[in-house]
Amino acid sequence: DTAVSQTPKYLVTQMGNDKSIKCEQNLGHDTMYWYKQDSKKFLKIMFSYNNKELIINETVPNRFSPKSPDKAHLNLHINSLELGDSAVYFCASEGANEKLFFGSGTQLSVL
């Protein structure tokens, strides 16, 4: 069973559209993250949730809205998509000693 699963794996959409990326973890962890990997492969933290509460919001445009219906899920909704939003988005779940378990990523292409 996949520990951290993200859907969809690929997302191609037009500018101005609204889209969501879903993430689920079956590890029983309290803390989950969203990371954005840019074209240079640099991973930058976007959000962190602990037990459904927002802990970290790293100066992300408010077009990005994370939603955590329960601690096993952290979804990412993006409004009014822009070309610069094109990237790979990774969801992660945090276990003991800050060890992160990553999803396989969602490659978002905004046309």
Partner: protein, 112 residues
């Protein structure tokens, strides 16, 4: 500002050769993690280092954390095509709910 710098940014080696990737922090590290990302896939945890001078090995990969806990190196012995990918160091920082920040990544290609 970038807290973690990795070098080199990319590396192409012949199969069987040894290689080293470095990760340098501008702050003292409270935990240093090495991850590997295979092309188009998620990140796989390799190793975690917490103590100054600590060294860990897994198969042909050895990671070290210096005494000052500001620099780590990842060494691969007798590289194989299966080692190809992007290697990322991640650092945990003290205080409250911690977040792991990542280095700039090193892209490794191993030529058969």
């Amino acid at each position: 500002s970038q807290e973690l710098e990795q070098s080199p940014q990319s590396l192409i080696v012949q199969e069987g050769k040894n290689l080293t990737i470095n990760c340098t922090s501008s702050k003292t590290l409270y935990g240093l993690y090495w991850y590997k990302q295979k092309y188009g896939e998620g990140l796989i945890f390799l190793m975690m280092l917490q103590k100054g001078g600590e060294e860990k090995s897994h198969e042909k990969i050895t990671a070290k954390l210096d005494e000052k806990k500001q620099q780590s190196s990842l060494h691969i012995t007798a590289s194989q095509p299966s080692h190809a990918g992007i290697y990322l160091c991640g650092a945990g920082h003290s205080g409250g709910y911690q977040k792991v920040t990542f280095g700039t990544g090193t892209k490794l290609q191993v030529i058969p």
